[in-house]
Amino acid sequence: MSETKLREEATSPKSLAPKLGKSPWGGQWGAFLARRLGRLGISIVVLVTVSFLMIRLIPGDPVRNALGIMASQDVVEARREALGLNLPLWEQYLRFWQGLFTGNLGDSFTLQMPVTTVIGQRLPATLEIAFMALVFMLACAIPIGMIAAALTRGGRRRGLELGYTGVSGFIAVIPEFLIGVGLIYVFAVQFHLLPVAGRSGPDSYILPVLALSIGGIAGVSRIVRAEALTVLGQDYIRTARAKRMSSWRIYMRHALPNLLTSSLTIGGLVLGGLIAGTVLVEFIFSWPGLGMTIVASIKDKDFPLAQGVIIVYGLMVLLVTLIVDILLVLLDPRSALKEN
């Protein structure tokens, strides 16, 4: 028996696992990144084009709207000319792209300020609650889902399972704004524990973040539980139990990393919804973020501002999906191959 051969055989099962290129920037990795970035570029072009067209297809005259019904026709015409709204659509489109590359999104009709300035002022407030809601959501959903799975695995505690799926399913389908109104009613109006709306002290963050994350917690924890149940039924978990490994170690080291990939995939989708949810939640809580701005700008036909905000929202969602995809490949290299 050749000893070296035996050693080779001993390590052979590992070599059957799919491998990516050795350097993170070559081979499969490079192909994956190139493909992913190419798709990002296409998404951005679509996003910019759609946001440009959509806002112009809404009926009504933005200049008349901004100047009021008392303004004379000459003034309105002069203003239209100054804003370049009399140019053919394709030229407006080209100028729009030009502006994008030079960091100039035009001036807001209603606020008389550069759009970039408005976004700069409003974006941080939105990012704050979106980020806090995300962290809070994951910090609650993963433990809740795992505990639910551990308690109900293998058909144990049927009653608890029914109760959990019923309640979480119900909460997951309530829209954010209803949750928001409910939270305001209970905590602010009835018990006067927290401020009704606005962004003042640390306690004013609690209700908007809760309103944004509660639905996500219910939805994501259901997915985490389903994934955890699959993972807990695997042979390697049985082996770990046979080895008398502590339950904590089984759940943390053997189950958690294996359910993270699929949970993260869904988590990325939920995050897109969460960013969209900030629009309604900000409106309900009078939160001085981008959500308030987008509603006002569409209502007032403030083209440049609405376009700018839509693009920022779109970029946020695209960026999040990109980060999730890259994280997925880092955690589980097979997901880069699956895309082919």
């Binding site: 028996m1 000893e3 035996l6 055989e9 001993a10 293998g154 144990r156 046979a242 080895k243």
Partner: protein
């Protein structure tokens, strides 16, 4: 030198009103160096007892003691005591990893054993890589397989040969107790004989304590010192082999013995 003892063992599958007790209050002692046969029909809980002893099922109630240490509820350093109990499974086709050479399968067990010895005594010198590879060859020779075939994959072996590989793998862990779960039921009669002789030789040579599970009374009576008869999760008869075979007390045991087919005697009529 080890005694395996089951104390009031209950094993339950499912929960609530679908719960099923596969093993119901079994008390059984497998004395050191003895071969105890466990017989009974399908579903009587024989395999479940063995699986619970190695941790593949959880006991619902009761203890499994190896030299007085409860291996079923072990905590801390006692969890490794279970490594001294090894099992050979019923199906030689599914118990080996088809993507690992048989040498690698056995080598894996040797590596774990070396770790265990290191843990048990601080001044133990672990075997070198070459010595471990040599040990793979020794074990294969012990079960009468050609050591040169260590790098071959299980697909290239017959059922009886695979069962011997599984035996070698169990022995690589240097167990004190061996659980043989219907190890011959998937083999034809001529190969059965070879594997059984091998098991008996090794048992004497290594002074193993063996729990031999089978539904075949003819096999059990040849191999075992004592016979335990199980039915519906309970032990209904336990005694020395000759006593149980020649003078069965329980009606179920009598039925089992009468059911052994004999050549020249018609099955019906």
């Amino acid at each position: 030198m080890s005694t395996l003892e089951f104390r009031d063992l209950w094993v339950r599958f499912g929960s609530g009103h679908t719960a099923f007790d596969a093993v119901r209050g079994v008390n059984l002692t497998v004395a050191s160096g003895k071969v105890v046969g466990l017989v009974g029909e399908s579903g009587s809980g024989k395999s479940t007892i063995a699986r619970t002893a190695v941790g593949l099922s959880e006991p619902h109630h009761g203890q499994i003691l190896l030299d007085g240490v409860d291996v079923a509820h072990a905590k801390g350093s006692a969890v490794h005591a279970r490594q001294r109990i090894q099992m050979v499974f019923q199906d030689p086709y599914s118990c080996l990893d088809p993507r690992m050479s048989i040498g690698a399968s056995i080598r894996e067990a040797i590596d774990v054993t070396e770790k265990r010895k290191r843990r048990e005594s601080a001044n133990y010198q672990p075997l070198s890589r070459a010595a471990r590879d040599a040990r793979v060859g020794e074990l294969l020779a012990l079960v009468e397989l050609d050591p040169a075939r260590a790098s071959a994959f299980p697909g290239g072996f017959s059922g009886g040969q695979r069962q011997r590989v599984a035996l070698a793998r169990a022995l690589a862990a240097e167990p004190d107790v061996l659980l043989a779960d219907e190890i011959t039921s998937a083999l034809d009669v001529s190969v059965q004989g070879t594997v059984l002789n091998l098991l008996l030789d090794l048992q004497k040579q290594l002074n193993l304590t063996v729990l031999f599970i089978s539904h075949n009374l003819a096999v059990v009576s040849r191999v075992c010192d004592e016979i335990v008869v199980m039915n519906r999760g309970e032990i209904i008869e336990h005694g020395p082999t000759s006593q149980v075979i020649d003078n069965p007390q329980d009606p179920y045991t009598q039925e089992l013995i009468e059911a052994v087919p004999q050549i020249g005697v018609p099955l019906f009529g």
